[in-house]
């Protein structure tokens, strides 16, 4: 036996003792915590999830990437890879509202695993790994969007994979690692539009790190090939996209900012939401993200000063910073900063280095007192996570109540009373259109699925020319109407009054009596008693327009 071969068996048990070997306690406990937290926050499925479901089902049924069957395709989604996955699930006979939360939880669990592989590089002992892992596994906003049926956990996973492979590439530049790095970067660009920035930022940082380490010469060729492959694939994808949809930008980009005044107003509105008042109920989460970022910066600084390799930490922080700045431009109406959620894993990577603040002996449970303090630290992290989770649970409870009492019953009523080719005009184009199955005109002033409104703003004349069969106006008030001024303009139009009959209100939120005011075309042959069966929505306040 060679000396090297003789050494090998001795090294393995030492590694096992450090990280827990085949039973890594930090990973197992983090996975367990994550799953329990998911079970606590579920169900939570925001309206936007259903936009993806509708696209995925239409795609799987052979209608292409169209929001309304038979109409020109509109790029109203911002998560192509997730839609493709959903289409596969649907093709396999699964119900998307049922299966996607599980898919999200699986993606979240994969995030925990990938994060753990990064954390253990920075913290050799399982006791050192556990605090950052629990911080991630119990981070309420991440858990919330893992169960939401949205693409967030998948994107977070790809970001972590980019950092993981990027760190490998910087340490050992080779063709295989570079291919994995490029594929992860490209998949990120397919998952979210802003994902197109991920690979360029990561590759530029890898270039800089390799040059600083004097290893650029060896890596130049593979890095160049990877960059070229990414560029070719990205150009091909966008060429297809523009050819398919006939637009340079997806409609959410046109309606939610990213140009001119929208850029500044997006920042202003987001900062107010993140730190002061996120609607009436949502707790402002900006503080938690800033605290996480500060911990990340502290970990990165500690690592740099201690002279340890910090390429992965720099990459993670750089990606988090760039994407965080991008996200501030897009108005985020949903609770818990859904765009930023994917960055949590990135920020926790450098946090793993903070164990050096305590002496090494503090992390070995050699005495009862140390074990007790470690247990207390774990308990503090769990209690902190529970504090955040219970706050978010109150939000999800309200949103689920709204879905169960308002959106789904309204959709069922629409499905039962109108033919599938009827046109529904509504501002929330997720759940109600999905469950009703009606063709839908998005009349939100920041329209997602209607390119005309997204590009030119809401126009009452335009809506009237589309002759919707049913109009669901979002209104604050059951008895007195506070509408969006643009919707109010339409409501006051003579044509509107003559053409549409007010059927009643369906309340969707307690706060401000937010409700849909339902109008139906007067010339439709729907019996009055069926119209009268309009659901009341949340609470006992309901107004019928048919009583006289």
């Amino acid at each position: 036996m060679s000396p090297a071969a003789r050494k090998k068996p001795a090294a393995a048990p030492r590694r096992a003792a450090r990280s827990g070997g085949s039973f890594p306690p930090a990973l197992v406990l983090a996975l367990l915590t994550f799953v329990v937290c998911c079970a606590c926050l579920a169900p939570y499925m925001p309206d936007d999830s259903f936009i993806s479901f509708r696209y995925a089902e239409h795609l799987a049924d052979g209608h292409g990437l169209a929001f309304n069957i038979g109409e020109r395709p509109v790029e109203a989604y911002s998560n192509l890879l997730w839609i493709l996955l959903c289409a596969l699930f649907y093709k396999a006979g699964m119900s998307l509202p049922q299966v996607t939360p599980y898919a999200g939880v699986l993606a979240g669990m994969a995030c925990v695993v990938v994060l753990w592989t990064l954390v253990r590089r920075r913290a050799p002992l399982w006791t050192q790994q556990l605090p950052p892992m629990l911080l991630f596994a119990g981070f309420g906003p991440f858990v919330l969007y893992a169960v939401s049926g949205m693409e967030t956990a998948l994107f977070a996973l790809l970001l972590l994979l980019v950092v993981r492979t990027g760190e490998d590439v910087i340490a050992h530049p080779g063709a295989k690692g570079m291919a994995a790095f490029t594929v992860a970067g490209f998949l990120a660009s397919l998952t979210r539009p802003e994902g197109v920035l991920v690979f360029p930022v990561a590759a530029a940082l890898a270039f800089w790190e390799l040059r600083a380490a004097d290893r650029l010469r060896a890596a130049r060729r593979t890095l160049g090939v990877a960059a070229a492959a990414f560029v070719v694939a990205t150009v091909a994808y966008h060429a297809w996209r523009v050819a398919y949809f006939g637009e340079w930008l997806p409609t959410p980009f046109l309606s939610k900012g990213a140009e001119g005044a929208g850029l500044l107003s997006g920042w202003r509105m987001n900062l107010s939401s993140y730190f002061i008042n996120w609607t009436y109920y949502y707790p402002p989460q900006g503080y938690a993200f800033v605290a996480l970022a500060l911990l990340g910066f502290a970990g990165l600084h500690a690592r740099v000063v201690s002279g340890e390799r910090a390429s992965g930490d720099r990459l993670a922080v750089a990606l988090a910073l760039v994407l965080g700045m991008v996200y501030a431009n897009f108005v985020d109406w949903m609770p818990a900063m859904r765009y930023h959620v994917a960055l949590a894993g990135l920020l926790i990577i450098p946090v793993a280095s903070l164990h050096a603040l305590l002496p090494a002996a503090a992390w070995t449970a050699a005495s009862g007192a140390r074990a007790g303090r470690f247990a207390a630290l774990v308990l503090v992290l769990l209690l902190g996570g529970a504090l955040g989770l219970t706050h978010l649970k109150m939000v999800t409870r309200k949103m689920t109540e709204s879905a169960d009492l308002c959106s789904r019953p309204l959709a069922t009523w629409l499905r039962g009373n109108f033919p599938p080719d009827a046109l529904l005009a509504i501002g929330d184009v997720g759940m109600v259109p999905y469950y009703s199955g009606l063709r839908t005109l998005d009349i939100h002033p920041q329209s997602l699925t209607d390119s005309y409104i997204a590009k030119r703003d809401f126009s009452a004349d335009y809506v009237m020319t589309r002759h919707p069969d049913v109009i669901a106006l979002p209104v604050r008030g059951v008895y007195s109407a506070r509408m969006d001024p643009l919707h109010f303009q339409m409501y006051k139009m003579e044509t509107f009054r003559l053409r549409y009959l007010f059927v009643g209100t369906v309340r969707q939120q307690w706060y401000e009596d937010r409700a849909y005011w339902i109008f139906v075309r007067r010339d439709l042959p729907v019996p009055v008693d069926r119209l009268k069966a309009l659901p009341a929505g949340i609470g006992k306040q309901h107004r019928s327009g048919l009583e006289s």
């Binding site: 938690a288 500060l294 911990l295 502290a298 603040l357 007790g372 306040q541």
Partner: protein
């Protein structure tokens, strides 16, 4: 204190004021009960809720009531002045906390701890509530400072006993705090026997004298030592600590549990300050379970925040490379998290403010203009009774409606379809025929919380002018019946 200490303390107070500004002024309904008692005391009517009635102990904190009465006697308008007083006690508590922390931890650690307390939601909410939680925090810290002094003089022990007695005057259940804190000190320092025995006996004597005096006065004034508060809001329910507080406020039990665990884990063996603070916090926490906490962030227990921070900050760190910058970042992170708590609590304080401004105050004023000498009975009669000036009595859950007031006020989930608890449904059934529904006015968004008002049948219907001036209430939807 060095110059840096003064600057840091000023910064801590500035953070506290920012957090308080974020929460903003708000008026919990319960605070008005104290205000009304205090104004009657200041006016020389004694400890009565309605002038001319027999004295009744319908308030929670005698000491806070006396402080409010002093303000009222000086011409202060209590809804405006009482929050200023609770804010001042909050500042005093922070100064005490800073002194305690600086005596035993490094500058950055003390800054982190005091900064956290200053920015934390519970303390800011308590300071703006006009209730006495910050007074309890101040007295608790005084107790810790006095009991934990290594060179205690007998006078110091005596003052500690007085502080314990004052705490007992802030709430009956708080009488347990001093004995528990004293026991912690004596056991940690192993002072059970002479010569230290004389000192803690002095403290105990002072405390018992205070307690006896308080209860002798209560027995004399109210006619019984065990006079139950007719306003008692019941014991705290455990789900409200962990799942959701009433009125859909976020549960903060996790927050206090977190700091308690941190305090227990970090306490140093033989460290009297740690143990006394922990014992004082534990006893205060147990005492707070005696009554339901209707404040956002469970701010009725805000005294626990500074008390638990003291032992939790006994953690030692290393002199790792770049430790100072990393520590600064950690301090900033902790500060951010605590500001997040204040911002979160501010949401619920805003809800209460909206209810007060849109419904309670206008309704009280309208009642006052409608019938200047009216009378009212209901389960929630703090602000409405205060602003109307009407004689008011709580609905007794055992006896029901015993008199015939002009108005019966029922709390309901639902403005148009009254959905009340079993007790109030019984009251509505009992007054049917003798009373008619007058109006409904919304008090909260969730579940359409509302007050439904029933007027005695012999009272004339509202005139057009009275109908026209009836307040719109929260959401501008009222149910007004003529």
């Amino acid at each position: 204190m060095t110059r840096a200490d003064w600057i840091a303390l000023a910064a801590v107070i500035a953070i506290f004021l920012v957090a308080c500004a974020a929460v903003g002024s708000f008026h919990p309904d319960r605070a008005f009960v104290t205000y009304r008692y205090a104004e009657n005391v200041a006016a020389g009517d004694g400890f009565v809720y309605n002038a001319g009635d027999a004295p009744g102990e319908g308030y929670a904190s005698t000491l806070w009531l006396l402080a409010c009465a002093a303000l009222a006697a000086c011409g202060g308008v209590l809804p405006a002045a009482a929050p200023v007083l609770s804010l001042l006690f909050g500042v005093v508590a922070l100064v005490l906390l800073w002194v305690l922390l600086r005596a035993r931890t490094s500058f950055p650690v003390a800054l982190a701890g005091a900064g956290f307390a200053a920015a934390s939601g519970p303390l800011a909410v308590a300071a703006m509530s006009g209730e006495g939680a910050t007074l309890v925090a101040t007295l608790g810290l005084v107790l810790v400072a006095l009991l934990a002094r290594p060179d205690s003089h007998r006078v110091t022990w005596g003052i500690a006993g007085v502080a314990g007695g004052l705490l007992a005057a802030c709430g009956h259940a708080l009488a347990i705090v001093f004995p528990v804190a004293l026991a912690a000190r004596v056991l940690v320092k192993r002072e059970l026997r002479a010569p230290a025995r004389a000192e803690w006996m002095t403290a105990s004597g002072a405390f018992l004298a205070m307690l006896l005096a308080l209860h002798a006065w209560r027995a004399h004034t109210f006619g019984g030592v065990l006079a139950a508060s007719p306003f008692a809001s019941g014991r705290v329910s455990l789900p409200s600590l962990w799942l959701a507080q009433p009125d859909d406020m976020a549960p903060w039990g996790w927050f206090y549990a977190l700091w308690f665990v941190a305090g227990v884990a970090a306490r140093a063996r033989g460290d009297a300050v740690c143990w006394v603070a922990l014992a004082t916090a534990a006893a205060t926490g147990v005492a707070s379970l005696a009554t339901a906490d209707a404040l956002p962030a469970l701010a009725g227990s805000a005294a626990l925040v500074p008390l638990l921070i003291i032992p939790a900050l006994a953690l030692r760190t290393t002199s790792a490379p770049a430790a100072s910058r990393v520590t600064a970042a950690l301090v900033a992170a902790v500060l951010m998290l605590s500001l997040g708590g204040a911002a979160d609590a501010a949401i619920f304080a805003r809800h209460l403010r909206a209810t007060h401004d849109a419904t309670l105050k206008p309704l009280g004023r309208w009642l006052s203009s409608w019938r200047p000498d009216g009378s009212l009975a209901g389960v929630a009669i703090g602000a409405v009774a205060y602003y109307s000036g009407w004689r008011a009595a709580p609905l007794d859950r055992r006896a029901g409606l015993t008199a015939a007031p002009d108005l019966v006020l029922v709390t309901s989930d639902g403005l148009f379809a009254a959905d009340t608890d079993a007790f109030q449904s019984g009251v509505i059934a009992a007054i049917d025929g003798r009373y008619r529904m007058l109006a409904g006015i919304r008090t909260g968004w969730t579940r359409d919380r509302a007050y439904i008002l029933y007027a005695r049948a012999d009272i004339p219907p509202l005139t057009d002018a009275e109908t026209g001036s009836f307040p719109n209430g929260l959401g501008s939807v009222t149910r007004l019946l003529r």
